[in-house]
Amino acid sequence: MDLAWYWTALIAFVIINFLLISASVLVYAERKVSGYMQNRPGPNRVGPFGFLQPFADVVKLVFKENIVPTLANPFVHSLAPMMMVVIAMAAGALIPFARGVVIADMDVSILVLLALTSISVYGVTLAGWSSNSKYSLLGGLRSSAQMISYELSMGLAVLSVVLISSSLNMVTIVEDQAGGFGLFAWNVFRNPVGCILFIVTAFAETNRAPFDLPEAEQELVGGYHTEYSGMKFGMFFLAEYVNFFVASFVIVTLFFGGYLLPFESVIVAQFPALADSYLLMALQVLTVILKAGFFAYVFIWVRWTLPRFKYTQLMTLGWKYLLPLALVNALVVAVVLAILH
């Protein structure tokens, strides 16, 4: 929407704070859910049902000492976590929360999102390089090698979505899924392989769940953030949680109808006054947050069930199976579109 710049600044500030709070909620949710999965209650001492636990962690981190190892490059050492957090937050500007409610609405918004993910590789590489220790450098190289391998398949999955909606603008992609009672025209039904591909690559891009080998404890002593401590270490975690929350928003926007209420056309037919009222907008914001919340739960659920990949399996899956599959899927979608036409 084209508001004056100070209104956009205000909404941007609101969105960033929303992402910060949701990150801490997710930290809490993850520890609670993983606790119940392992038949233990999870944090419940700090505040009602342990709800203030994440805020206690943040305060603890602020008071921790910020150690920069010798011979490390101090500027780059603090630049890396900042870069990771900034990129994770910036992606929040592209997601449409309701019809007409999006901070940055550009004709090429899905490409800007891919560009941001391709920049986040630097955060990891520089973190590894700047802390001047063999383990963190190797961990940094390994996780960035993993991220760039899966970025290709993500690009091709997005390509198949763009083929169907023939536009790079995320709002148009969501509107394109509005047909068939707002449910059956979702891209997940029209392009299932693309959806699975995108979800798997989203896991790999955010270094989550089965793909988090580079910072696995027993593998590489904590990978690229071995030498980080205090708030910088906290920022890596903040970036990771914001990343996978934004990733679940993008999954929802591309494949699960974004802010479209499931039977929107039927509901509007019933209550014509609802057509473009603020109530509908509020409902749409609610649906997109609920859908994204469900996928955030899937992220957490998968982390505590699936075992971790070995590095060889991880790269072989990325190059020898996902990439050819993504290529074939894009071409098959094109051929099907040509036939249907």
């Binding site: 008071f63 000492e65 150690i67 001047n132 220790s133 063999k134 760039i148 390509l159 002593v221």
Partner: protein, 123 residues
Amino acid sequence: MLSDFTPLFIQLLIAIGLSFTLLKAAALIGPKRANTIKLTSYESGMDPIGSARDRYSVKFYLVAMIFIVFDVEVVFLYPWAVTFSEFLDAGVGLGVLSVVFLFVIILAIGLLYDIKKGGLEFD
């Protein structure tokens, strides 16, 4: 156009501001008791051997190199994806499909070559 991108720049500025204040706050509040033992890089208890930045295997270079080539290919396909429906309306869908098929096959041969000739072995 440029006007569409300004909200993104504003969000970036706010995000930079926020992360900068977080870091500055932690740096100011946190204690400063550095001593040489604490500052050596962590080697699970033993003192570090050799410089950290000696050479690692060529695998990482090969992965990054193959990544660029395929990134460029995917970038070439985006304009096709956007205008594909217009090509279909104009009735020349088959023509553009043949152009794209040839382009994708050329680079699929590149991928096949990399897989067979050890560019992507991670033993």
